[in-house]
Amino acid sequence: MNSLDTNRITQFAPYKVWYTDGEYRFETDHGILYAIDFKEEPMFSPIPAYWFNLMNRSRKASPNDVKTRATVTCIIEEFFQANPDILLYLCDNANDQQAMRSRLFLRWFNGYAQQENYYIRTEKVDDEGEENYVAIIVSRQHPYLTNIIERFDTEIAMFKSEKPS
């Protein structure tokens, strides 16, 4: 994956973003430290894909903060500038709040000014009684957008029809 330009992110993001220990980090006005990393996912190979991993490092309750939302969307925007690939997001299942987090993530992303440039969809799949909300984000300019959507749809359909091993 091409690394992100933290100077460019900070130019547009409300919070200063820096890179350390393999993570992109920023601290909010409420003293909460967030970390973001991207894990490669081979499912769409040869098209690169990455899981978008957002973590509250401070482990403190995070109040609704528009600056956090804006900073996260700036990081996603920079990801697509540097990597015109596929971004996947799996909602954290801590406290059984997946559905709420899924909606929140979509709301964040849909509130983003450039969102019309991206194809985004969320699907719910159950694995051994645990709900998983998976989101896919791809640039609408991606030359293989149709293939990627078809692949995602087929994977989701197979997941739903399979019995877990």
Partner: protein
């Protein structure tokens, strides 16, 4: 390239294992973070104790 001619390398049906692998990765990442935070807190506690000891 036309949509019909594109070929993915991986066999279909890997979403379940991908999700499980990613969750495992995330659990490990969180565990490392908790360990690091505990270490940082311990370092702060030691520094504070050492400062108090010097003051006394």
């Amino acid at each position: 390239m036309e949509a019909t001619t594109f070929k993915f390398n991986r066999p279909l049906g890997s979403l379940r294992s991908s999700i499980r692998a990613y969750k495992e990765y995330k659990r490990e990442w969180e565990a490392r973070m908790v360990e690091k935070l505990a270490q940082e807190e311990e370092d702060i506690r030691r520094k504070r104790e050492s400062l108090y000891a010097e003051y006394e």
